[in-house]
Each structure stands twice: as structure tokens, then as C-alpha cells.
Symmetry: C2
Subunit: 151 residues, 2 copies
């Protein structure tokens, strides 16, 4: 029930690029060291991101990576799914054939809903906001339930 390190590294990579500005080319070693990603692993991750149209790779001397679009138009869902594929919490959600009970299963609906909400949350997080946000600015409305701050 965790995302993989590769997905986390991908987010860090894109976030770092977003922080440098929209079209800035950054070499891999810099990204790797600044975002604390194993350099050789980053080559793999970058390839997936490039295939997904999120970054552009420039080869050769003075090569490196750059965002392919403005940070505002890249969100965490895309980045994560570029690496790990479509998020789903239980196989029966994306492949109903995986479980004979699926057409008739209330739990399946719960997994679907949970999945939908995770994906919506990640989709709402674009990299312009993330790059600007810095510390403690939440892009989300305050939780409806927890009754503690107002006595």
C-alpha cells in the first residue's frame, strides 16, 4: 500500500525541475544529487517520464533534462502513473475478471471509490503549486470532520 521509491523519485525529479523554471535544462547528476536520487536509477525513471511526455531529454555533451510543459500543466497523478502505471488499490478494480465476485461485491465499490479519491487528490496537485507552496501551505480545504481546534 505504498508507492514505490521510483515514483517518489520521479516526483522529486519533476519538482526539482519545476523549481528551476519551465524550460531550464538541468544535467542528470545535479538532479540526482539535489533531489537525492541514485544517479543510475534516475536514468530509468527519466526515460519513463520522457515517454509520458512530462520531461524532455537532451542527449550528448551539455545534455540533461527539462520539463516538457509548464509546471502548471503537470500534476502528481501523471508523474506517479508514468512510473507505476494506473493506480489501483485492489486488482479487481481495474480488472474485474480478476475476481468472480466483482460484479456483485460491495467491497469492490469501496475500493473503486478509494481509488477515485486518491487519484483525484493527486490530480489536483500541479507542480506549479507544489514548487511555490514551499512549507506549510496546503492546497486542500480543511478537513470537514475533526472537531478539535474550535472549542
Amino acid at each position: 500500500m505504498k508507492i514505490t521509491m521510483a515514483a517518489e523519485y520521479a516526483v522529486r525529479c519533476v519538482l526539482y525541475l519545476a523549481q528551476q523554471g519551465s524550460d531550464v535544462l538541468v544535467n542528470r547528476q545535479e538532479i540526482a544529487s539535489q533531489a537525492r536520487i541514485p544517479d543510475s536509477f534516475l536514468t530509468k525513471i527519466a526515460q519513463d517520464l520522457a515517454r509520458a511526455g512530462i520531461i524532455t531529454i537532451k542527449q550528448g555533451a551539455k545534455g540533461g533534462y527539462a520539463l516538457h510543459r509548464p509546471p502548471r500543466q503537470v500534476n502528481m497523478l501523471e508523474v506517479v502513473e508514468a512510473i507505476i502505471g494506473e493506480i489501483s488499490l485492489n486488482e479487481c478494480v481495474t480488472k474485474p475478471a480478476a475476481c468472480p465476485a466483482s460484479p456483485n461485491c460491495a467491497a469492490n465499490l469501496v475500493w473503486q471509490e478509494a481509488r477515485r479519491r486518491v487519484r483525484d487528490t493527486l490530480r489536483a496537485a500541479d507542480f506549479e503549486s507544489l514548487a511555490q507552496a514551499g512549507a506549510c501551505v496546503s492546497p486542500f480545504p480543511p478537513p470537514p470532520s475533526p472537531p478539535e481546534t474550535r472549542p
Copy 2:
């Protein structure tokens, strides 16, 4: 980004028990075959569920498993977390020490929010509803966006 088979089996086990009624004792083999859980694996899962106070185990001849509380008072979050521990999508959410950036990271807040929403969704799914729901009754309000069923 998937729950484990063990967690899925746990849900099936509890759901099956809930379907049999509140205090009905069912032997393990029946649960295993009806809920399609490898029998020997179910012994492990049951132990975790028992430790979490979700089921009661009766040993010896004519032994078996039963719900420890009314199905209404058991939800999917408890069951899943009894097996896999506290859900979190990225280690930095539950252990901020895992990443030095965490106090200052906007992505961290996104992961927190996503986690909160998954957990809320699972918490809302109690086993009385699940057992009754049968087929296509969703315990959730219709999604706000997808515009297809009403032409």
C-alpha cells in the same frame, strides 16, 4: 500501490462471517473454501484479526471463527489495517524522519491528504452495509463529475 492478498482475504473472511450473522461460529475450512482463501494462509490472517479484536477464535473440536462484534461496528479500515498496519502511501507521511524535506515539502501534504481520504473511505464501509448491499448499491454519493447517464 496495491493492498496485499492477505488484506483482501481478511476482508472476504470478515464479510463472509458478517453474512452468516453476528455470533455464528464458522469453521475455518468453510470460510476458506467459500471465500476462496488458501486454508493454511487463513490461519495467519485470522490470528491478526483476533489480535485486533475483530473476530473470536474458538479452538478445539467444533471450533471456528466468529465476529467479535456486530458487523455494523466493524469497518474495512480496521480489517485492512489489522493485516497490513497503518495505511500510508509514502513513508514520509507516517515517519517524517524518513525524509529530511518533509517539514518543508508540499508533496508531503498531498500524500497526507490522499492517505486521509483513503482511510476515510474505508472507515465508512461497515460490514453490515457491505453484507446487505449485495450487488450494485453504492454506499457513496454519486461522483460529482462524470456526465454520462443523464442525456
